[in-house]
């Protein structure tokens, strides 16, 4: 007995040192990601830095999706609803309540919290495929509701958020530089929040639920409560992205509530690496430019009848990726760098 105690001692202290290193490494990695993004703004031509602002906002959406899909193991097909709740919570408040942008961000977030709480409460009565279907149905119902109240929401056509309403703490967000750094700050807040979350006791329990729900339950964890909180966090991050999108790009429309905006975050996360903190950004970046380049290619070199051929090219690229990198880019990276958060 005493012999095995002695053996355990050194390994315990090594473990502690390694764990501290992992913590520091994780912070350094995320700081480095933000630093690279700042540098990119100054290096890239304006067209690309403009894209990057959009990518950062969509990456927040993907990070929100990742909390539920990548860390909790719940596949939702209805996240467009959460994105749209934030977007309309923000946009309608500006439009009809005549509030400032900072107040409208709060109403956008509150609407996302409310919607995700209700949807989570109802949809979590199901599991597996039924959960996917139920979330999809709710999102479609949300989309149709936006169309139904077309007098206020302007339906598919959407509405523009005026320049005067897009001033946050004195910064005019129609200016490219302000817009980029606003997107970056929001992205950084969400990135550090998610990094903290997945390292916390709660986040590690979510991973346990993902890995073996029955075992986690029999360790005394309230699975339903954990899942509901995960849906709310995921939905609220997605809603934050929706509100940010309306604020930074000045537009809210029903197309953001349509099914393709439920599928996109799933693709971003799958490509980038589910269950990794930086995967969503990588996936969004890749997917955005994949569509961008393939559509440019098809419009330049193919006859106009084939203008949607970019979908085919993008589709083939996605199939190749899922065949050769099923864990996504960050998943591939994690094979080499085991500590990747």
């Amino acid at each position: 007995m005493s012999e095995s105690v002695n053996k355990a001692m050194p390994s315990a202290s090594i473990k502690k040192r390694q764990r501290v290193n992992v913590g520091i490494r994780s912070v350094l990695l995320h700081v480095a990601v933000i630093a690279v993004l700042i540098a990119l703004y100054f290096v890239l031509p304006e067209y690309h830095s403009g894209n990057l602002a959009r990518i950062l906002v969509l990456a927040i959406f993907a990070m929100g999706y990742n909390v539920l899909f990548g860390y909790t193991g719940l596949l939702s097909l209805g996240h467009a609803l959460f994105f749209a709740s934030g977007m309309y919570g923000f946009g309608l408040a500006i439009q009809f309540l005549d509030v400032t942008a900072s107040v409208a961000i709060v109403t956008g977030l509150l609407s996302a919290v409310a919607v995700s709480t209700i949807i989570g409460f109802l949809a979590l009565r199901t599991t597996g495929v039924a959960f996917m279907i139920v979330t999809l149905m709710f999102a479609q119902a949300g989309y149709l509701t936006i169309l139904l109240f077309g007098d206020y929401t302007r339906g598919d056509e959407g509405f523009v958020i005026q320049r005067a309403d897009r001033i946050l703490f004195g910064f005019d967000l129609t200016q490219p530089a302000n817009r980029f750094f606003c997107a970056l700050i929001l992205f950084a807040i969400c990135l550090f929040f998610v990094a903290w979350l997945v390292h916390s006791r709660f986040g590690k329990t979510l991973v346990g639920i993902r890995e073996n729900e029955e075992r986690a339950e029999m360790l005394g964890y309230d699975i339903q409560r954990h899942k509901l909180i995960a849906v709310i966090i995921s939905g609220t991050l997605s809603g934050a992205a929706g509100a940010a999108y309306a604020l930074l790009f000045g537009y809210a429309g029903a197309s953001f509530a349509a099914v393709q905006y439920s599928i996109l975050p799933l693709l971003y996360v799958l490509l980038g690496g589910a269950g990794t903190t930086i995967g969503p950004l990588i996936g969004t970046l890749f997917m955005f430019y994949l569509i961008d380049y393939t559509s440019e290619f098809s419009s330049r070199y193919l006859p106009s009848d084939f203008s949607s051929a970019y979908m085919l090219i993008a589709g083939v690229a996605l199939i190749v990726l899922t065949l050769y990198a099923p864990q996504g880019f960050a998943g591939l990276l994690r094979r080499k760098v085991k500590w990747l958060p």
Partner: protein, 236 residues
């Protein structure tokens, strides 16, 4: 007073009475073995104790409280631990993280969790393998890991469903030793087919047959009981 007791506990699966009106008392500090032929209702019975299976009628009392309506996680949080008949660990996570997941529910603060995890890894002979992926462990080690996950929560009642199934002879020896250590600090309810293990570990035995209590007694009494012999041990 009993740590856990049941009164008229029954489970009916459309026509089949898997467990029929079982009255059961388990005093604190005892190692109790639950034996009986296949299909006697042992797993269903402990499933109703732990909350994995909803009872049809009857009640379960734990630490003086009626927990019949409690969900499983709430019962675990009251001081139960449970290991599955078919080993169930977090197969893609490290050995250390498996135990840590169990520990974090009861211990706060990462340094407390770490020291508790190291202590338990040592008790279940897995210190050397702390960084291995649980799914890569041998079957016997996975069983030990699952016991460690229960152990780290310092349960008052530890339910083990066929813990020695699939273990080698030496691993079974180790397990018997481990139960001896565990029984100093916790009450144990053990479903077990291996009579050698039952006789060496149990203070008291309950025999189930066709969902009903056939007999209860010390190992010596059970061994001498003629109806148990015919039902279970075979004519010898």
């Amino acid at each position: 007073m009993s740590l856990v007791s049941t009164h008229g506990l029954s489970k009916q699966y459309s026509g089949l009475k898997a467990v029929n009106h079982v009255d059961f008392e388990l005093p604190k500090g005892q190692v109790r073995a639950l034996i009986g032929p296949n299909g006697a209702g042992k797993t269903t019975f402990v499933g109703m104790l732990s909350g994995r299976i909803k009872s049809t009628s009857g009640s379960v009392i734990f630490k003086g409280r009626d927990i019949t309506a409690y969900p499983a996680h709430k019962r675990m949080a009251m001081g139960m631990a449970y290991t599955f008949q078919i080993t169930s660990v977090f197969a893609d996570l490290s050995v250390e993280e498996n135990i840590a997941l169990a520990a974090r529910r009861v211990v706060k603060g990462s340094s407390n969790v770490n020291s508790k995890v190291a202590e338990v890894l040592n008790k279940v002979y897995l210190s050397e393998r702390y960084d291995q992926i649980a799914g890569d462990l041998s079957y016997g080690h996975q069983r030990l890991l699952e016991i460690g996950m229960g152990l780290v929560q310092s349960p008052e009642l530890f339910i083990l469903d066929e813990p020695t199934q699939g273990l080698s002879a030496t691993e079974i020896e180790g397990f018997i030793e481990l139960v001896g250590v565990l029984s100093e600090s916790t009450t144990i309810l053990l479903i077990e087919h291996n009579m050698d293990v039952v006789m060496k570990t149990a203070h008291y035995i309950t025999v189930l047959n066709f969902g009903e209590t056939l007999a209860e007694g010390t190992p010596a009494e059970i061994r001498a009981n003629p109806s148990v012999q015919t039902a279970y041990l075979g004519a010898s």
